[in-house]
Each structure stands twice: as structure tokens, then as C-alpha cells.
């Protein structure tokens, strides 16, 4: 908590007031349909550029007989999915054969707790 005698308290109050006022004023501006239209137009332009760039790059990589980032990411995702599927099969096998799970069995507290009596 700020010291009541701290001379910097004045600036802290000012900062708080500036923050509240700015949030309110700029917030109102951000809620206008003009801002929404402007922001979304900018997003659309950026997305179009991104798409054009992506298409160019894909064509270039295909011509150079190289995998695209998407293809590499998809390979990685496939490997991870395979890993997870194996883990699920392993867990099912353990459950089906009545074996013990790999994780160490920890002592389990009894599920008998009651709320403390009210004073």
C-alpha cells in the first residue's frame, strides 16, 4: 500500500485517473462501427496478402520438390496423434488384462471427510 506521506502519491492518483479516463474514451471509440469496419477491413487485407503469399510459397516449394511448412507440421501432428493412440491402446490393454498401471500407486486417503461442525 502506498505511504500516505509519499509525495509520489499525487502522480499515482493522476495515473489512476488517466487510466480510467483513457479506458473509457478509447473504449467508446473502439466500440464504434467505424472502428469495427476499419479493423476488419485491415484484417481482410492482411488475410488476402497472407493467402497470396502462402499460395506463391507453396508453388515455389512444390517446384523445388521441398515440403511446405504445412506438410511438415502435419507430419509432426500425425506422429503425436500416433503416440497418443498408442498410449490409449496401452492403457486399455492394462485395464483389460488386469495389470497394474505404469504410474506408481500412491496411498489414497479415505473419502470419508465431513464438514467441520459449525461453531
Amino acid at each position: 500500500m502506498a505511504d500516505a506521506k509519499d509525495p509520489a502519491d499525487f502522480f499515482r492518483d493522476m495515473l489512476g485517473q488517466w487510466e480510467r479516463a483513457s479506458n473509457e474514451i478509447v473504449g467508446k471509440m473502439l466500440q464504434t462501427s467505424e472502428f469495427s469496419r476499419g479493423m476488419n477491413n485491415a484484417t481482410t487485407v492482411s488475410l488476402k496478402l497472407q493467402q497470396a503469399m502462402h499460395e506463391q510459397m507453396t508453388r515455389f516449394l512444390a517446384a523445388a520438390n521441398m515440403p511446405s511448412r504445412e506438410e511438415v507440421a502435419s507430419l509432426g501432428a500425425g506422429m503425436r496423434a500416433l503416440d497418443e493412440r498408442l498410449a490409449r491402446i496401452e492403457a486399455m490393454l492394462i485395464a483389460a488384462t488386469g495389470g497394474k498401471p505404469a504410474a506408481p500407486d500412491r496411498p489414497r486417503p479415505p473419502r470419508t471427510r465431513k464438514p467441520a461442525p459449525k461453531a
Binding site: 509519499d6 469496419r37 502435419s74
Partner: protein
């Protein structure tokens, strides 16, 4: 005792100022040189990892626990460690010490091949699978479901569709149902200007920068003022520690699965399908009135992300006879974590859960 002469007071104040300025410089250097704080460190076992979904089981910290386990459902936009900050400031740790058996559904960034995930996948696949795991691990037929923010929306949709399911109690924190009451998000997703199809078709998954920027724009001056406050309090280790924890979490937004984002925008933001009971999930209409189990909704008085108006109708719509809405001081994040939560939400929730966890 007589007060110190004015000259001495001024000298003391000047000494304090100089001392803090020196401390700011020293600690400011430490700030940039030191690593980010370790968060989400309460010991746990990972029971399930399936693409974006992770299911954790936290190790008990009490000798005797309540019968009914708790499954926390984290919001899909952010990491679950907001509910498990540093020791002594962790909601999960608090629940464990109070004698609850705690599980959490947390999210990793959806992979490129998960861009097709829809609300159906979360509600009809992920939540049921995790509930089944919890029941198997604990041997208990009942579970308390606790959802935070959009995790609350998913929990609400699930329980509305499975009113006779294994969920014994439903708790939601800051959960929106009336999306027209979120004016900023409404303006930015105005269907006249916002081409959600183009966005999703181009990007696949919605990048975290976009999610972070939209949260940040809700309070445009907050980041600048926050940085000035950080410099002002740089001498105060506790303040800096807390700032770093929350800042790290806030900037650690997750991407959203593309179809899930498209569906949320069209069905919830545009059509307000939860409030109008028009949302169709798996060919069934989601009627919140079907929820009949004990229900608690906790909302924050100064929530700038989910304003009170957006979450207010939830408790009225739920069909339960045992239902309650609690409005607590604080904001969207300080409701669940930090000093405010320790003082207000956590003990209040514990009190509500005790009798219903037997």
C-alpha cells in the same frame, strides 16, 4: 510523543524516495535477468493427453477427503495455471488442503489437424471422456463440475444435455449466456464487417495474438499504466512477483480451433443461441432449463471481459431448485486468483461445496 519537526519529516521522505529509486534500479536489473516464475507446480499426474486436451489429477494434500471429486474445466482461451499459481496462491492447492480430490481439464494449443474441432467435440467427447476417467480413478459415481469463463459455457452445455449424467453439482465462474451484453466483442464481430469464414478458412486455427489483442483492447490503457506501476513498485518484491505471474498468464493466450471459433461467433455472438435456446449440439437443442443439479454461479462485480449483464440470466435460466448466484468484488481474473480470490471466492466456494460433496 511530539511529532517530528517539518524539516525532519521532509528529510525522511527524501530518504525514502532516494532509497526506493536505488532499489528500483537494482531490482529492475534483476527483473530482466531473472527467469519467469514457475507456475502450475502443484504435484499432479497426467491422466490423459489427447491433442489439445490434457487431464490432470492432483495429488491429495489431506489425510481424509470428501467423497465427490471435483473436475475443473479451464477456459479454452488461456492456460489452466491461473488456477494453480505459486504455492500459497494456488486455488488447486487450496482445494486439496480443504480435502477435495481435484482433477483439471487443461488445454494445449490445438494442432493444425485439430482445426476441425467444434463445440460438439468439447461437450460430447472431451468432457464425457474426462468424467469417465475421473469416475474410474476415484471409483465414485458422482462428480462436481467447475467451469471457468468459457469452460463454464462448455460445462453448462454439457450438463444441459446430460441432466441425468454423473454431474452431481455444477459450479460456474463468470460464465456468459447473453452475448449481446458484451458490447466490445459484439462491435468487433459485427457480421456486417467481420468475415469469420475468411479468417478461419485462411488461418485454420485462430492465432493466440488475435485472442490476446482482443482481450488487451478491452482496456486500452491498462498495459501502459501497468508498466508504469511496475516501475513504481519495482522495490517491492511481492508486487513484482505477483505482477510477473499474472502478466505471464495473460500474455500466454492459446490459439482456438478454427471451427470452434466459427461456431462460437455465429451461434453465440451473432445468434445468441444459449439465451434463446436455439443452439443445436449433436442434433439436440441446448436448453439450460434442463439443468437440475445443485448450481452455483460466481460472478465478479467489475468483470470487464464478461460484464455482469452477460452472465446474469444464467442462474434464472437454470432449472435447479438448489441454485445460487454470488456476486463478489473483483475482476475477471482477480475473482479466481490472487489476494482477492483467497479472501473472497475460495472460502465461499468451500462452504458451498462441503455439504454437497458427501
Amino acid at each position: 510523543m511530539a511529532a517530528a519537526p517539518p524539516n525532519l519529516q521532509l528529510l525522511e521522505q527524501m530518504r525514502g524516495l532516494v532509497d526506493r529509486t536505488l532499489q528500483r534500479n537494482i531490482k529492475g536489473l534483476e527483473y530482466f535477468a531473472s527467469p519467469a516464475p514457475a507456475l502450475g507446480a502443484t504435484p499432479k499426474d497426467v491422466l490423459l493427453t489427447r491433442g489439445t486436451l490434457n487431464l490432470y489429477h492432483y495429488r491429495p494434500l489431506a489425510d481424509e477427503i470428501y467423497r465427490v471429486p471435483i473436475l475443473l474445466v479451464m477456459a479454452t482461451t488461456n492456460r489452466g495455471y491461473i488456477l494453480d499459481m505459486a504455492p500459497g496462491q494456488s486455488f488447486v492447492e487450496f482445494l486439496l488442503r480443504q480435502g477435495y480430490d481435484v482433477f483439471m481439464m487443461d488445454w494445449s494449443p490445438p494442432r493444425a489437424d485439430e482445426k476441425h474441432l467444434r463445440i460438439e467435440d468439447y461437450v460430447l467427447d472431451f468432457i464425457p471422456e474426462c468424467l469417465e476417467r475421473v469416475r474410474t480413478v476415484t471409483g465414485e459415481p458422482d462428480v462436481t463440475l467447475v467451469g471457468y469463463c468459457f469452460g463454464g459455457v462448455l460445462s453448462t452445455i454439457y450438463t444441459a444435455l446430460h441432466a441425468d449424467g454423473p454431474v452431481k453439482n455444477l459450479v460456474t465462474f463468470t460464465t456468459p449466456v447473453d452475448f449481446t451484453q458484451m458490447p466490445m466483442f459484439q462491435a468487433w464481430s459485427d457480421p456486417r464487417y467481420f468475415d469469420v469464414d475468411r479468417l478461419v478458412d485462411t488461418l485454420g486455427n485462430v492465432p493466440p495474438d488475435l485472442i490476446f489483442a482482443s482481450f488487451d483492447m478491452l482496456r486500452p490503457a491498462q498495459r501502459i499504466a501497468g508498466n508504469i506501476r511496475l516501475w513504481d513498485h519495482m522495490w517491492n518484491d511481492e508486487f513484482v512477483k505477483s505482477y510477473r505471474m499474472f502478466d505471464r498468464w495473460a500474455t500466454d493466450a492459446l490459439p482456438l480451433a478454427g471451427e470452434y471459433f466459427r461456431q462460437t461467433t455465429k451461434e453465440l455472438m451473432w445468434k445468441n443461441g444459449l439465451l434463446h435456446r436455439s443452439l443445436q449440439i449433436g442434433g439436440r437443442t441446448v436448453d439450460i432449463g434442463a439443468i437440475a443439479m445443485p448450481f452455483l454461479h460466481v460472478v465478479a462485480e467489475h468483470d470487464h471481459i464478461i460484464p455482469y449483464g452477460a452472465s446474469k440470466p444464467l442462474v434464472q435460466m437454470v432449472g435447479s431448485t438448489d441454485k445460487e448466484e454470488v456476486v463478489l468484488k473483483g475482476g475477471h481474473i482477480s475473482l479466481v486468483a490472487g489476494g482477492n480470490a483467497i479472501k473472497r471466492l475460495w472460502p465461499r466456494l468451500d462452504l458451498w461445496l462441503q455439504e454437497r460433496s458427501l
